[in-house]
Symmetry: C2
DNA sequence: CCAGGACTAGACAGACCTGTCTGTTCAATG
DNA sequence: CATTGAACAGACAGGTCTGTCTAGTCCTGG
């Protein structure tokens, strides 16, 4: 059994190529042929591994899901104060804006290109729910009386920030987003103090 | 000279068909043939009128631009208080969410499908700038000390709301958006009172 | 050594796309 | 009436796409 494959596996090379090409240029604009060329893999390998282009797209989205949520959680864990943890989510996002390859939210882009119902829409919904749950959990830990509502509002800012950073080529929007989030958090009622 | 054409002009029928099909299903998913079939127009008419598919897409976006901005301005003019005017923009947007044909922001969808630079991206940028300018103008009239920053923040909410209403199938997000906007407006410093 | 599975290379089918081009119809105008 | 221009209908070219299939290669376990 191969403990280390010399090169990375075809599966991984396909995912890497998909991540790079689909994210940079869009799913519709990038054909299968370009993905396999970039991955250095035969077309049959793609279809035996992922079944279809949509299967590859879903795997690409699932990969980004794990990476993005991981980054957000890592940013959260770097601070202790519960309020700062909520803001740290936005800081993790802001670091994402600053990357040169940033091209907006992969899930928003994928959902815009895919039919309204289907596996891609479901992958998008999973990601969006997880971001919202993260905000809600942190709001609960911070003693917010209505954590679900604050989570909705913080995710408005999260989503709007991603859109503006991309479409307006303005990563500095993160500062306004953070300031707005702090105002909303400060204004949110707390549970009755003990 | 025809004062009234019996049917609407081919140009208008094409725009109507484009508006319906591109918005409902996406630009890439709808081919020229379906547009002309729905419009009841010959292909040559499309190409002599708009030059290319991209030309038709731009005209479709420009049409939505005028309609959307018009709706927002109409909502603004229904109230007098400067603070309420800012909130009225979101109310105009919320009415848009409630329409059965609502499928998210046409400009966000178009930008996601189009290359990052080009006429479609420019049409998107024009729309986004106009929304932002509207918020900034109203903030100025309301005596906000830093209207540009508040406009950025309100547009975060505007954009995030559109995304959530569409991707989460949750038009009720408008209530959270309005509440958040009010908090941000109330918290924004005013110019020194006379 | 050999058998079997994984992978590669690339042709191919069938569908769809945009954009062009050729004719035809029809109404308005000179 | 004759002409002209707009619009129609639809074939066509040239390209791209997904997904399938054939055939060959390589590596590993037995």
């Amino acid at each position: 059994m191969p403990i280390t494959t010399a090169k990375t596996s075809p599966r991984q090379r396909l995912l890497d190529a998909a991540n790079e090409l689909f994210y940079a240029e869009g799913i519709h604009s990038v054909g299968i042929d370009r993905v396999i060329a970039q991955a250095g893999v035969a077309k049959a390998s793609l279809y035996s591994t992922f079944g279809s282009k949509e299967g590859l797209v879903c795997a690409y989205l699932d990969g980004r899901h794990e990476i993005m949520i991981g980054r957000l959680r890592a940013a959260v864990e770097q601070v202790d104060d519960p309020v700062e943890k909520m803001l740290a989510v936005l800081d993790g996002q802001a670091a994402h804006f600053a990357r040169p390859e940033f091209r907006g939210c992969a899930f928003v882009a994928a959902a815009a290109e895919a039919p309204a119902e289907g596996e891609i829409a479901e992958a998008t919904a999973r990601y969006r729910n997880e971001v919202r749950s993260l905000f809600a959990q942190l709001a609960t830990e911070a003693g917010i009386a209505n954590p679900e509502q604050l989570a909705d509002q913080l995710r408005l800012i999260y989503d709007g920030g991603s859109l503006a950073a991309n479409l307006d080529h303005n990563p500095a929007i993160a500062a306004s987003a953070r300031a707005a989030a702090r105002i909303l958090i400060d204004a949110a009622p707390r549970v009755a103090a003990s």
